[in-house]
C-alpha cells in the first residue's frame, strides 16, 4: 500500500468514525419493553447463582 493511499484511507476512516458514532444525537434513547425485562431477570439469575456458589466456596 502506497504512502498516499494509506494516509487517505486512514483520514477517511477517522472522519467516518466520528461522523457515524459521535456528535450531537437528536433521536430518542433506546427504550426497554416489558418482554425485555424478563430477559434481564433470566441473565441476572445466571450470575446470582454463580455468585452464591462462589460464596459457598469461600465459606
Amino acid at each position: 500500500m502506497s504512502q498516499v493511499s494509506a494516509e487517505q484511507e486512514f483520514t477517511l476512516l477517522e472522519l467516518l468514525d466520528r461522523m457515524i458514532d459521535r456528535g450531537v444525537v437528536l433521536t430518542g434513547d433506546l427504550t426497554i419493553s416489558v418482554a425485555d425485562v424478563d430477559l434481564v431477570a433470566v441473565a441476572l439469575n445466571v450470575v446470582i447463582a454463580s455468585v452464591e456458589r462462589m460464596a459457598e466456596l469461600e465459606a
Binding site: M1, Q3, A6, E7, Q8, F10, T11, L12, L13, E14, L15, D17, D21, T27, D29, L30, I32, S33, A35, D36, L39, V40, A43, L44, V46, V47, S50, V51, R53, M54, L57, E58
Partner: protein, 131 residues
C-alpha cells in the same frame, strides 16, 4: 454551469490531515483489521437482539469482575489449591452458560465488550490508585 461569485460550500479538503508512520499503521491494519473500540448498536433493526446483547454484556462484565477478585486472592496467596480448582470450575461453567445464552439469542461470534473505559479497566486488575 455558470458559477456565481457567491458559490456553494467549499470542497472538503482532507489532504494533509494525517501525519505519522502510516506504513506502521498499514502493517497493523493488515494483520488485525481495523482495531477499534467495539460499540453496541442501539439502533439495530432487531431491538430484542440489541437488548439481549446489552444484558449478556453486563453478565460478561460481572463474570470478569468475579474472576478478577479470584485472581487477586490467588496473587495474595489467600486460596488453597482446592479452592482454586473449585473456583476455576465455576468460572468454566459460567463461561459455558454464557456461550449457551449467546447461542440462544443468536449472538454467537459477537463481541460482548462494553465500551466502559475506566469502569471496564476494573476487570483487568489494573492499579487505580491515581492521584
Amino acid at each position: 454551469m455558470h458559477r456565481d461569485i457567491h458559490s456553494d460550500v467549499p470542497d472538503l479538503d482532507l489532504a494533509r490531515r494525517t501525519s505519522g508512520d502510516l506504513d506502521e499503521l498499514a502493517r497493523a491494519a493488515a494483520v488485525q483489521g481495523r482495531a477499534g473500540p467495539h460499540r453496541i448498536d442501539a439502533n439495530e433493526q432487531n431491538a430484542g437482539k440489541g437488548i439481549a446483547k446489552l444484558v449478556l454484556s453486563l453478565v460478561e462484565l460481572l463474570r470478569r469482575l468475579l474472576e478478577n477478585q479470584a485472581i487477586r486472592k490467588m496473587d495474595a496467596g489467600a486460596l488453597t489449591d482446592e479452592q482454586i480448582e473449585r473456583m476455576g470450575q465455576t468460572f468454566l461453567k459460567l463461561a459455558d452458560k454464557l456461550a449457551e445464552l449467546k447461542a440462544a439469542f443468536g449472538l454467537e461470534g459477537e463481541d460482548l465488550d462494553l465500551e466502559l473505559g475506566s469502569i471496564g479497566d476494573l476487570t483487568d486488575g489494573a492499579d487505580h490508585g491515581q492521584p
